[in-house]
Symmetry: D2
Subunit: 328 residues, 4 copies
């Protein structure tokens, strides 16, 4: 069967993981090229799977049918646009851009091209736990959904190191998660923190959806004990909680315990595999699945409102413009 | 050993449960009198334990060393004051009063008497789960506490049937719980709801403590599936969650499940036993334990601010005056 | 109301706990006397509740309506017989006797008296978890029961220090538990151990019931990590597992954990309270509840067969004679 | 990169699942051929991934570098031998053969060839939960292992429909699991059942290992409620239990529950993916991983003793001959 020629831009932790997942678990893709500012790093990662290091992102794009963007956030939008203009499929790590305006450039590029090329790497949409949670909503088990409660904790802050970065780099996952779970859009957001000086971590968001649901979301990137992502959905018919647990329970020294890891890539590795696999299969069929460029833009709009809300201490309205016809 | 002569005012579900608990599980107390507007009901409940029905609360007070107030909320403050004036110990069901002003009359009466007589029935302070949760805070396991998340759901609304009643009748438990867990006071509160017309249930409170912690609290009195009270405390060193589970897990018909009851008295029956037992023992020693009249007043102050916050949609400052010397 | 005059023979850990439970949580009983070989110990324990130390078990029996036997196992049967002959109610800690023959002397004494006086302290029959587990059997949820699996682990061996002692002192709880859960009798037993030299701990029993169910039971009195008692019942309609868990879950240092205690008295304290309360109430009514002297004898019969099976390595038939009419 | 040309013999539920897993998740393998007695079925399954249906197993073997045996059990040994003789790598579904004698023909063929070609499909060795459980043994957390308890339940019996079939078709998984977990061999087995007439399901095995550990294993293929595989390992330092749970907990209608599926393929799908992936990668490197032909033979030896034990009701010694040098 024909395979998708794939490149990966960015060979850091996330990029290298994607290369390895593609190489070991996605038969429909063939990695041909890896780019990184650190060429030796790119060669090392590429070499594992018989691919080569590209001299530039542009050179990589010229070689491939589709590519993954896992380079620093500020490069995402430009690379996505370049991919669209080259007619290649793109899986862009979240966030799609650093600003909503930049994200919209990607939307504009797709509209100009007259078709979609970009999937945004909101991997939770492919996580079996999140998919099951959504199933409890869509199958009616929970009745009318009234509330959601989200928790998103990292053991220590790797990338989200300032107030705005925590919103745009970490909490942005929640924004997409809630939009997707409820198939609805955000109308307002408030972001607060018990910390008033220095790095405001944890942060507590309150989010309002168009259909009336309210959501509380805690993001805490220095939670110490491990990586912990949970969501509870509360409706008139009951509640469903995503609360993963390792399959082994140890009873040792006066405690019954299960391990909590600290590596988000390991935690969500199955979702990355399913995401990359779905992306490669869809690209071969000429389709785009998962979160669209418009979804990526919408998450950026919410994030910008969130940053503003954190600064003002006020509830901030969120206005997401109507999606171009391409996305509906 | 000498036993405390005890009366119970109010023989509804809560009062009758207290009579039964005292009679079957509190040896230091002897029930001598029960009062209820429905005399037949009082006789029936009293008769189980060889006590008699009183003609009036005043007649009951004259007969006893100590009494429990489990009559309708609006009668609490007057009865508590009458108890203080008669020099009898009082265990008053929450709330201590319907308004903070009324609650303060009880504080004033104790100050005038020059000593304390009143314990407020914030039973969670005696619940083994809540006590263990507090232990995780005070023993330093959790490091610096940053956040708490509370959930308080009833299967269906029995007593809290309007917006203010939900705050004053149900959420008031959370107010005392958070003050007690953190040994700190509330400085501000916000209360919102996804429901904008009709009975605003569920409600979401955000609470700020003097020491800087933020708290989210959901109260939902028509949650359908059962009675569910949970609290998670999040600190720099980790998190502790109170999440009780029945000891039996059944695997039947494609599900592994444990029962969730709907009766709050059954759920907290052990805490009521320990509360009544501690109260009777303390009364015999001439002491008062548990939540004080001032704690009851403080909870009412927060509740009033909560009701106002729900109406205004704004964050409401909470000012709890300094406690009289009697309470410190 | 009139109260039952109660004595306690034996003021060790178990006896002292019973005195304290009676004194603080069983209003229908009044402790009047405590006996222990160590008189100072008896005085200390008795003094907490205004009772006095007795000079001898006989002197104690003469003073009371009912008494608890919590002295060393070899004294149980004689004391129970003495209680029957004095017409007092008896709650005898397990085992009822060290040998089945001795246990039958208690049965004989009741038969001679023409009525029952003795309850054997198989406290699990009063444990809310075990009661709920039995409910899953009797309400038909599990269909036809086929198998049970029991686990009984102590952190370290306090009293069961030799091969036979482990069966007669610890596993005897399982024998009564299975008879009671299934309302059926044992017909055969096998007991084996992975340990072939020295103290044979853990031990694995296989038990056959008259109605055909098979049971596996592990008893391990040096399990190290804590006290752990679990039972799974497996039927044609599903399975139910008693697997208690503390209500607080801590997430700290890479693990999500709940505490496992090592003190069996603390673990089962609620069952002891309910057992003592039911015993005192029944005694006041002139009745006997819980495990009968015959049940105690039957457990001893199974234990003797178990010890023999452990020695022979063979499956040992168990023949429990028909119960005298008094017990049916 | 070069890919392994792979065939699959047998396109039933298991075989079709393997084809799909290879095709969608194992990039190092390329499916070229599928054989099934039902040619239309083979064509349908093969067609999904651009492969073709073979006319015979021999024709398939001639086309491939490696193949999977997922045809009926009685065909396994002959096909494995044919594969060895053709110099192709083989992944043979369990059991390796219906009898130990037949299984040894496969071992003999490898010895004759002077090298190994065969991996036996004991997929649990690749299951992340089982791997983590083994980690608790090998890292010393549990101290000296004394006991294991296994549970293996199917909702309804698909393939194991007679007494011997339950041992050879289902319990054989436990035999390999215990040998692998403890890195030790079985010395004796006993198999019993509470069912004395008709299909003897459930069955209870007691297993002794060379190093002295004892194991209890329940297999119940008509457990009704779902597919449930659990193992607890008990040592001097504590216990570790494999007890998988779905990540979503629903609170609905008076119960808190998580789903228990009934499809063993779905339950273990991740282990199949990892097994097939490891097999294909190893085959490309000219190596064999996972359970060897000798392990497959050893499991058959235990199974034969188990069947004999079930018939005799006696403990049956198990003698596994020393492995040829090829396997050590």
């Amino acid at each position: 069967m024909s395979r998708l020629k794939v490149g990966v831009v960015g060979a850091g932790a996330m990029g290298a993981s994607h290369v390895r997942t593609l190489g070991t678990a996605v038969p429909s893709a063939e990695i041909v090229s890896v780019f990184d500012m650190d060429t030796a790093r790119a060669q090392e990662v590429a070499g594992e799977f018989g691919a080569t290091a590209a001299d530039s992102p542009e050179a990589l794009i010229a070689q491939v049918d589709a590519f993954v963007i896992a380079s620093p956030d500020f490069t995402h939008a430009d690379l996505a646009v370049a991919g669209i203009e080259a007619g290649t499929y793109v899986l862009c790590e979240k966030p799609l851009a650093v600003t909503a305006e930049d994200a919209y450039r990607v939307v504009d590029a797709e509209v100009a091209a007259g078709r979609r090329f970009v999937q945004v790497g909101f991997n939770r949409r492919f996580d079996p736990g999140f998919v099951s949670l959504k199933g409890h909503i869509t199958d009616g088990t929970l009745g009318d959904v009234k509330l959601l409660h989200g928790i998103h904790r990292n053991a220590s802050n790797a990338t989200s190191t300032d107030d705005a970065g925590l919103v745009t780099g970490s909490m942005i996952h929640e924004f997409d998660t809630f939009r997707w779970l409820l198939d609805d859009d955000v109308t307002a957001i408030r972001v607060e923190s018990p910390i008033v000086e220095g790095f405001r971590d944890p942060q507590l968001a309150t989010i309002w959806m168009k259909n009336g649901q309210m959501i509380t979301a805690e993001v805490y990137v220095n939670a110490g004990y491990g990586y912990d992502v949970r969501v509870e959905v509360v409706g008139s018919g009951g509640s469903a909680s995503l609360e993963p647990r390792t399959p082994v329970v140890a009873r040792v020294s006066g405690a019954s315990s299960s391990a909590v890891g600290s590596d988000f890539v390991a935690h969500f590795i199955e979702s990355y595999r399913l995401e990359l696999s779905a992306w490669a299969d869809a690209s071969l069929r000429g389709e785009v699945v998962g979160a669209s460029a418009f979804d990526g833009f919408a998450a950026n709009v919410v994030a910008e409102a969130g940053v503003q809300a954190l600064r003002s201490g006020e509830r901030q309205p969120v206005e997401i413009p109507a999606a171009p016809g391409l996305y509906t």
